[in-house]
């Protein structure tokens, strides 16, 4: 099979799985998950083959795997769509396929496959547990299987299809198709337990917030398409086209066409990758089942946003070369990224829900990548995208495992008031759940940038080094501060969850989850460590040069001009070592003896309430939109003004009809003309009646008088 054909086929198995499960196998849970996981495995194998072949190509950046077909007829020409795997695509495909496969496998255990049916479970609500009687006659409550188990695999299958489509696309249009399909799936999956009003609201919020970004992105695509006549990356990223785009002025903010298109597309990313000010949907998205959080926040959807700006980097940076001051679009991107990185980190410090901490850390880490691409640190952005996908998927799946373990405890004690996601109900889980603990520790350290051994250190350090080397001091300081907070809240999370002693009865009875959940943790932990080693900078003290910096060379070759390797400087390295270590130690020192939320001195209301952005948006946009729709447009404009005018026409017409009838028809025609004529005749008749006396003499007299009168008239006229 040719590599190109194989690339076309990669997205199809999960799509097929979606249709098979929805149409045929949804009653059979085992068959459904076999199809789902099997499809993920097939796509993974395909991706690995493509990746391996990509490694074997000399200068893949110049000669990528590419194939396209005609799709839309537009006048004399066709809009083509196709597949493309260049170094960036290959690197992204690698992590996407692994994380997706692992998440599918994990879902089998997470959704309680093999457990009995719940006593009162119904579709649309999370399973509540089942009562079983063992051979000694004791009854126990155990976790019950998800009632919509098959549907879950169908949805994540469609989700995976969307992500694969996005990655293998050679053009913005099919990228957008995959992008929106993921948007739909995130809606369906965040609202998977749709009977919960909170899940339902979160799903709508996620869809609408990302769609706000998407409509701008659609404009950007339309703009780019009309300006260049194509949407294919390879045709847009030619020197000539980029030059024209950079030289064309637009009336908006003094941006060039390239800059404006880049900005419009970037707004799509702001929505999808939950950057400030469109970050509000992501924390609420935690309503979905945990594997979904891992899908959305690590492997796929949020990565897609970053991937898209990285893809569009040649356009965004058109006319810019390394060392020059950033162009306006890049400055905006860098600012939003850096600001979001710090902003979200401050909120994460005050969250008590184990998944919400991770949600805000995701927003923050995505900010790093966005800041990096805004500064022109192309390779560093890709590097952090990939390492983050591994360790954040790991952390989310780990947190799901913790929640599952805690639910065991809850079923054991029967106290359903205990929130299995609240970290203050945990503690000491390292003994109960060793695999989860050790892998979570790896993930947490990677997130904190624990020096040298974790992947997160290498990628984050590269971003900081880049910011420093190019003189973006403000960004450097912001990101360093955010890195400190990251290490701090991560250690807080680890300390509260795993270290110390169990704070509740439930935590004492938590136990390790089964292999389908722990195996993915181990695999992801492996990559969370080792993936950093493929990108160690050449000039790094001691370690530099032992392993070649494969990543820089490989991914860098995607661009027409491969970026230069940075000179080494101790200042960023020292900073990143310092913030990681001090943050971790501080997190442990502050929280090792904390027992209750009240002892946590950092839970400022403003942080706990996420700087009140939800309330602000509700006041500024949501409520006015509803008022505008219901009261202004519908009640006032349509029913009041427009229908008012119509009804007025109707009334005037009716009034005219009435008047014509009452005053012309009835009065003039009926009474005056019609009845009047009759009356006159009647009156005349009545008055003439006395003449009919019956006396012959009178008749003779009348006849004679008539004769005389008529005779005289005739005589007068005829004789004269």
């Amino acid at each position: 099979m040719t590599t190109e054909l194989l690339i076309w086929l990669i997205p199809l198995p999960p799509l097929l799985a979606f249709f098979l499960i929805v149409l045929f196998t949804n009653r059979n849970k085992a068959l459904s998950h076999t199809i789902g996981v099997g499809a993920a495995a097939l796509s993974w194998i395909g991706s690995m083959i493509v990746f391996a072949r990509a490694l074997g190509v000399h200068e893949l950046g110049k000669e990528p795997f590419h194939s396209a077909i005609n799709w839309l007829p537009t006048g004399e020409t066709w809009l083509k769509i196709g597949v493309l795997i260049d170094p960036l695509g290959a690197a992204v495909l690698f992590f996407v396929s692994i994380t997706i496969f692992m998440i599918f496998l994990y879902s089998v255990g997470y959704q309680n496959f093999g457990q009995p049916k719940g006593d009162h479970d119904r579709a649309g609500l999370p399973p509540h547990g089942a009562t079983v009687t063992d051979e000694h006659g004791h009854t126990h409550t155990v976790p019950s299987i998800e009632p919509m188990y098959s549907r879950f695999f169908a949805f994540i299958g469609l989700f995976a299809f969307g992500m694969y489509t996005l990655v293998v696309s050679d053009n913005l249009l099919t990228l957008y198709v995959g992008w929106e399909i993921m948007g739909l799936c995130s809606y369906l999956l965040i609202g998977f337990w749709f009977a919960k009003p909170s899940a339902r609201a979160a799903a709508i919020k996620a869809f609408m917030t990302t769609r706000l970004g998407d409509v701008f992105m659609l404009l950007g695509i339309a703009f780019l398409y009309s300006a260049t006549g194509t949407l294919s990356y390879r045709e847009i990223f030619t020197e000539e086209t980029l030059h024209v785009l950079a030289a064309t002025a637009t009336p908006i903010l003094g941006l060039s066409a390239a800059g404006l298109i880049g900005l419009l597309l970037f707004i799509g990313t702001v929505g999808k990758s939950a950057q400030w000010p469109l970050h509000v949907w992501l924390p609420d998205a935690m309503e979905g089942p945990t594997p979904v959080s891992a899908m959305i926040h690590a492997a796929t959807m949020v990565s897609a946003g970053v991937y898209m700006v990285i893809r569009m980097f040649p356009l965004i940076s058109a006319g810019w070369t390394e060392g020059m001051p950033l162009n306006p679009t890049m400055s905006i991107i860098a600012f939003i990224g850096a600001f979001t990185a710090l902003f979200a980190a401050t909120i994460a410090v005050a969250q008590n829900d184990i998944k919400r901490v991770l949600a805000f850390s995701t927003i923050s880490q995505l900010g790093y990548m966005i800041a990096a691409i805004g500064m022109g640190a192309y390779v560093a952005a890709v590097f952090h995208l990939i390492t983050h996908a591994f360790f954040k998927a790991l952390l989310f799946l780990g947190s799901g495992s913790v929640i599952h373990g805690m639910e065991h405890g809850v079923y054991h004690t029967g106290n359903h008031k205990v929130d299995p996601q609240d970290m203050f109900n945990m503690g000491g889980l390292r003994k109960k759940m060793p695999i989860t603990f050790w892998t979570f520790l790896v993930g947490g350290f990677a997130l904190s940038g624990f020096p040298v051994i974790t992947a997160g250190f290498w990628s984050k350090d590269e971003i900081l080094a880049d910011a420093f080397a190019n003189g973006h001091l403000a960004i450097f300081i912001t990101l360093a501060l955010a890195a400190f907070l990251t290490a701090f809240y991560t250690m807080r999370q680890i300390t509260l969850t795993f270290l110390g002693e169990a704070r509740t009865e439930e935590a004492k009875h938590a136990h390790e989850t089964n292999w389908t959940m722990t195996a993915p943790l181990v695999v992801l932990a492996f990559f969370a460590v080792t993936y950093g080693w493929v990108g160690i900078p050449e000039h790094f003290p001691v370690l530099g040069g032992i392993l070649p910096n494969w990543f820089h060379g490989f991914v860098g070759s995607t661009l027409a001009e491969e970026p230069e390797a940075l000179d080494f400087s101790w200042i960023p390295l020292g900073t990143s070592l310092f913030v990681a270590i001090v943050g971790l130690v501080a997190g442990w020192l502050v929280y090792r003896n904390v027992e209750k939320p009240e002892q946590d001195k950092l839970q400022f209301p403003v942080l706990k309430n996420k700087w009140y952005f939800d309330e602000l948006y509700d006041f500024l946009f949501v409520k006015p939109a509803y008022w505008f729709a219901e009261t202004f447009v519908y009640k006032w404009m349509d029913q009041g003004v427009i229908d008012g005018i119509l009804h007025a026409f109707g009334k005037v017409t009716g009034w005219m009809g009435d008047n014509i009838r009452n005053y012309i028809d009835l009065k003039v025609i009926n009474e005056f003309v019609g009845d009047g004529t009759g009356n006159v005749v009647k009156w005349t008749g009545r008055n003439l009646r006395p003449m009919q006396t019956g006396r012959i003499q009178q008749y003779m007299l009348a006849a004679m008088l008539t004769l005389i009168v008529v005779g005289s008239i005739l005589f007068y006229f005829l004789a004269a």
Partner: protein
């Protein structure tokens, strides 16, 4: 076979009416017989339309399958029929939706005979507009098709049917007065009503007419035409008859009303307004775009403000048809350019797509209304577990209506936006607000019907909600299949549209 080929259009056009006359002689109490006769009779025009589709040479110039019969010799008006890529697409849509609407009406048990006859007459009326190549014939069918629809709403409609049917009838007829005068003027001027001849002579006409400069006359008649078609589309602010008529009409009536009848207005813009008044269209393109964008934005907001499920869907038509007019406005402004062709491709495909998704949505609203006898969104809630199949179908159709990439609506909306952007950037940008709120009202519908805590009223006892049945699935399945096929592989239909647009403009 030869006869069929040479009379294909008149067969498609008149077979439904013929069938209606056959039904007239069927016994009134044999409801089953009448229903099946109507269904089978409406399937024949569909089959013939498929023959028409495959027999159509999309590359050939001009109209095909032309037929011409003497009709009103004294004023030189003939029954001239013919199709090009534009009308062919609409004919296919009409003959596809009619059998589905008839099948959807199998649950009607009140005066089945009259109902089915009206439906078949309606089909003839609608098809006639798309096939007519003679202005008088065009106008004739334009008015004829109102009558069956009036009675369908007035006799089989909801609680407020008298108001709705009257508003529908009067508004559309009132709007067409100018159209009639305009057509008569053209007929008197050129001594023929033949579309091709009139177009040629009228566009090249110069000098003065009735003592006025011809440009002023053209402008006046241009607006008369625009108003007639704008009422039908409907374009904001002429749209308020639509939510009433759609909401009160019986389910199948709404399917055809939204699916086909609104297309008549858009078709009028493409068939008559742009070809007859290229200069006026270009001059007033900004005004048209303004109305289009108002329809898109206000339509979306008004839909979002509804608590009646059917009204919500009705307003979504205003929103979606706005994109058709936006494409038309863009094309009017920059006739002959690549951007204009793309915008027109999008507009025509949007007409077809809206036919599928609006008919589907109205049908699904009807399915649930038949079972619950309420359309109030607040009366539902959490029905998904009770009716999983219906829920899945509703989600799918809603997403097609929302314009989700991978389904049909996206392709056409993308093309319109792409085509309109370089020509009318500001209007296109504002239209995005409507696109955003399309999401809002679609999700509102799903939220209130399928999601959320279950309304126990529907879960047991005599009110227990039953799942969508096999007949209803057969109605919706072809629509869903087409939505998916056009979303994934639009070229089969877009190629025909594209070639037609290249030849027309």
């Amino acid at each position: 076979m030869n006869f069929i080929n040479s009379h294909l259009l008149s067969l498609i056009l008149f077979l439904p009416s013929l069938a209606a006359l056959v039904i007239l002689f069927l016994p009134k109490n044999e409801a089953k017989l009448i229903r099946w006769t109507a269904l089978l009779a409406s399937l024949i025009p569909f089959a013939l339309s498929v023959v028409l589709w495959f027999g159509f040479q999309s590359g050939a110039i001009g109209y095909q399958f032309e037929e011409q019969y003497t009709w009103y010799a004294a004023i030189n008006s003939t029954l001239h029929l013919g199709v090009d890529g534009l009308s062919l697409t609409m004919v296919l849509l009409t003959t596809l939706l009619t059998p589905l609407a008839i099948l959807a009406s199998f649950s009607i048990s009140d005066r089945v005979k009259a109902y089915m006859m009206l439906f078949l007459f309606l089909e003839t009326g609608l098809l006639g507009v798309f096939m007519a190549l003679d202005l008088l014939i065009f106008f004739l069918f334009w008015e004829v098709e109102l009558v069956p629809m009036y009675f369908l709403i007035n006799q089989w409609g909801g609680a407020n049917r008298n108001y709705a049917s009257l508003k529908f009838m009067i508004y559309t007829m009132g709007g067409s007065l100018g159209l009639l005068l305009g057509i008569q003027l053209l007929g008197v001027l050129f001594g023929t009503f033949d579309l091709v001849a009139v177009t040629e002579k009228w566009t090249s006409a110069s000098g003065s007419l009735l003592g006025f400069p011809i440009e002023s006359v053209k402008t006046v008649i241009f607006w008369a035409f625009v108003v007639a078609f704008a009422v039908k589309v409907p374009v904001w602010p002429f749209h308020t008859w639509l939510p009433d008529a759609h909401t009160e009409a019986p389910t199948a009536g709404s399917m055809l009303l939204a699916g086909v009848m609104l297309k008549l207005g858009a078709y009028g813009f493409l068939r008559l307004v742009l070809p007859l008044y290229p200069e006026q269209s270009a001059h007033f393109a900004g005004a048209l775009a303004f109305l289009a964008v108002a329809a898109i934005v206000f339509g979306a907001f008004a839909a979002y403000g509804q608590t009646d499920f059917k009204r919500l869907v009705a307003y979504s038509s205003v929103n979606h048809m706005g994109f058709v007019l936006l494409g038309v406005a863009a094309a009017a402004k920059a006739v002959g350019t690549l951007d204009a062709h793309i915008a027109l491709n999008g507009a025509v495909l949007q007409m077809f797509n809206h036919g599928l998704s609006a008919a589907g949505m109205f049908f699904l609203v009807g399915v649930i209304y038949e079972r619950t006898h309420t359309r109030d969104l607040n009366d539902f809630g959490g029905l998904f577990p009770l009716v999983p199949v219906y829920g899945g179908i509703l989600l799918f159709t809603s997403m097609a209506s929302l314009g989700l990439p991978g389904l049909n609506g996206f392709v056409s909306e993308f093309l319109v936006v792409r085509g309109a952007w370089p020509i009318l950037p500001v209007y296109t940008a504002i239209a995005m607000l409507g696109l955003l709120f399309t999401g809002a009202y679609i999700l509102k519908g799903i939220k209130n019907v399928l999601h959320g805590p279950l309304n126990e009223h529907w879960s047991h006892g005599e009110h227990k909600l039953t799942e969508i049945n096999a007949r209803e699935i057969i109605v919706i399945a072809p629509l869903m299949a087409l939505m998916l096929v056009i979303g994934i592989w639009p070229a089969w239909i877009l190629d025909v549209i594209n070639k037609a647009m290249m030849m027309l403009f």
